[in-house]
């Protein structure tokens, strides 16, 4: 790699969580799309897909609790704290860098360091995904596992319907995040460097 500086950004517990979460989310996306399109073949039946979706959902739920506790118990949680000062301008700066700056040879406006694991845009998206979208998808998912606990009607609209819409809309949002996440991960020291980092724990600067 020829890199001299590297930081141990991803401790083992985080990598284990990330692995389970990634696997679970990928299964959830594929089975979710299959259910939506009524995919049903003699080998992979609809029931199997539903069961897989349920199991993967529970795995993601448990791994989320692990992640949440880990962030409370270790110093990893501090990387998610958003600074109010210059919030919007920092987002725009980072956005501009991705769209234009990086092609014009500019340096990253928020270089990664021991103190800054995520750039402001990355941090903002991670917080939205991990502290809003994933909890919502988990809560609605649990509700859909036990639909009798959902209120029958709210504002004249079926409760199950609203829960299902919210669940799949959030699921879709997470899928879009995953695509961008996987792509942006290739913007590293080398295109494969960040993928290696989440396996061995080291991030090269």
């Amino acid at each position: 790699m020829g890199t001299t500086e590297k930081i141990y950004f991803y401790p083992l517990w985080l990598r284990i969580w990330h692995g389970f979460n990634a696997l679970g989310i990928i299964i959830l996306i594929f089975t979710g799309i299959s259910m939506q399109s009524s995919f049903d073949t003699p080998i992979i039946g609809f029931n199997l897909i539903v069961n897989l979706h349920n199991i993967a959902g529970i795995v993601v739920f448990i791994s989320y609790l692990f992640y949440f506790t880990g962030n409370l118990a270790t110093s990893n949680g501090k990387y998610y704290k958003i600074k109010r000062k210059g919030f919007f301008s920092n987002l725009i700066k980072q956005g501009n860098y991705y769209v234009l700056g990086m092609f014009q040879g500019e340096k990253s406006p928020f270089p990664i360091s021991e103190k800054r694991k995520f750039n402001p845009l990355q941090k903002f998206i991670y917080v939205i995904v991990m502290y809003l979208a994933v909890p919502v998808v988990i809560v609605t998912g649990i509700a859909l596992l036990f639909p009798e606990i959902i209120i029958d009607k709210a504002w004249g609209i079926s409760g199950v319907f609203m829960t299902a819409i919210l669940h799949s809309a959030m699921g879709f949002f997470i899928s879009i995040f995953l695509i961008i996440h996987l792509y942006i991960a290739s913007v590293g020291k080398s295109p494969l460097d960040n993928y290696k980092g989440i396996i061995n724990g080291w991030h090269h600067i």
């Binding site: 939506q36 009524s38 009798e148 004249g156 609209i157 199950v160 819409i165 799949s168 879709f172 879009i176």
Partner: protein
């Protein structure tokens, strides 16, 4: 003298009206049949012993007068269908052996009932497991009580009411040991047990009718009457939980008609296909998700292409 006759005529007339009123189901205590058949017990003068006897009414012969008053046949009196000889008590024993009119006797071949397609219903019914098991003895009234029948599915705008009314018809036998055994010759299976495979059983039972899975859908009929044997019942989730749901041709046929005739509220349109899975049950969200997905993909391809291009430079 002449005025007395006029007066007597009016008294007679008013008494006759009183008699007509007495036949109404609203006033069962003065109705010749219902004064006994709407009560748990009845009394009569035993002419042999000369004593007044009080007995329990056969529970199967007790009628719900409130339900009768709301039923589609409320304008008919008992003896319009049952023999007028029932007006005397004790009823003659051979009256029970006289055949009753069937639904087709009144409803068949009548243009005013053509839209209900009674003849086609009869043809479909004769293919059903009910007819195969019990033959002609399985008549319409086994499910549709002529006394209390209400066309709920056609008139109610609440799907849950339609489902509840309809499923009670099935449960009246399938959840009743005596009635079920009389028709089938064996004990009734426990419904909760045989539907054990069905996820969210209670929710399904409340939101869809038994006939959704247990009949063969016929497009020309509102309700298919070809009740299938359990081996042919729907067991695949996707048959309902898909964009091309079986429910559109059965339960939601009614809703669709209402939507067309009343221009439907947003909620009825929204909930109309809530049996399909995911956001794609809403066409707007489906379109939006496809646009977002394609936009992201395009963005990534362009960005990636620029990166490759830049690297080569």
């Amino acid at each position: 003298m002449k005025y007395r006759f006029v007066l007597l005529f009016f008294i007679f007339l008013s008494l006759s009206f009183k008699d007509i009123k007495a036949q109404s189901y609203q006033d069962p205590q003065h109705h010749a049949c219902l004064k006994c058949h709407s009560n748990q017990s009845y009394s009569f003068n035993n002419e042999v012993t000369g004593k007044i006897v009080k007995r329990l009414m056969n529970p199967y012969y007790i009628l719900d007068t409130i339900a009768i008053s709301a039923g589609v046949h409320k304008q008919f009196d008992c003896t319009d269908c049952h023999s007028s000889e029932y007006k005397t008590y004790p009823h003659k024993s051979d009256l029970k052996l006289q055949p009753l009119s069937s639904c087709i006797d009144c409803h068949g071949g009548d243009a005013s009932f053509a839209k209900y397609k009674f003849e086609e219903i009869e043809r479909e019914f004769k293919k059903s497991v009910h007819f195969k098991v019990y033959g002609e003895n399985f008549n319409c009234s086994k499910c549709h009580s002529q006394h209390t029948y209400v066309a709920t599915a056609r008139n109610s705008s609440n799907v849950l009411d339609i489902v509840d009314y309809n499923n009670k018809m099935c449960l009246s036998c399938h959840n009743d040991m005596k009635k079920y055994k009389m028709v089938s010759g064996h004990d009734n299976p426990k419904l909760v047990v045989i539907h054990d495979w069905l996820p969210n059983q209670e929710l399904h039972f409340r939101h869809v009718r038994c006939i959704e899975c247990h009949t063969e859908v016929v497009d020309s009929l509102m309700v298919s009457h070809n009740i299938l044997s359990k081996d042919h019942a729907v067991r695949k989730c996707v048959e309902c939980h898909s964009a091309n749901s079986k429910l559109k041709a059965s339960l939601y046929k009614y809703q669709n008609l209402q939507k067309r005739s009343e221009n439907g509220t947003i909620s009825s349109i929204l909930t109309n296909s809530s049996y399909t899975i995911g956001t794609h049950q809403s066409p707007l969200l489906k379109l939006l998700s496809i646009i977002i997905f394609l936009a992201v993909l395009t963005g990534i391809i362009i960005h990636g292409a620029f990166r490759i291009f830049k690297k080569k430079q």
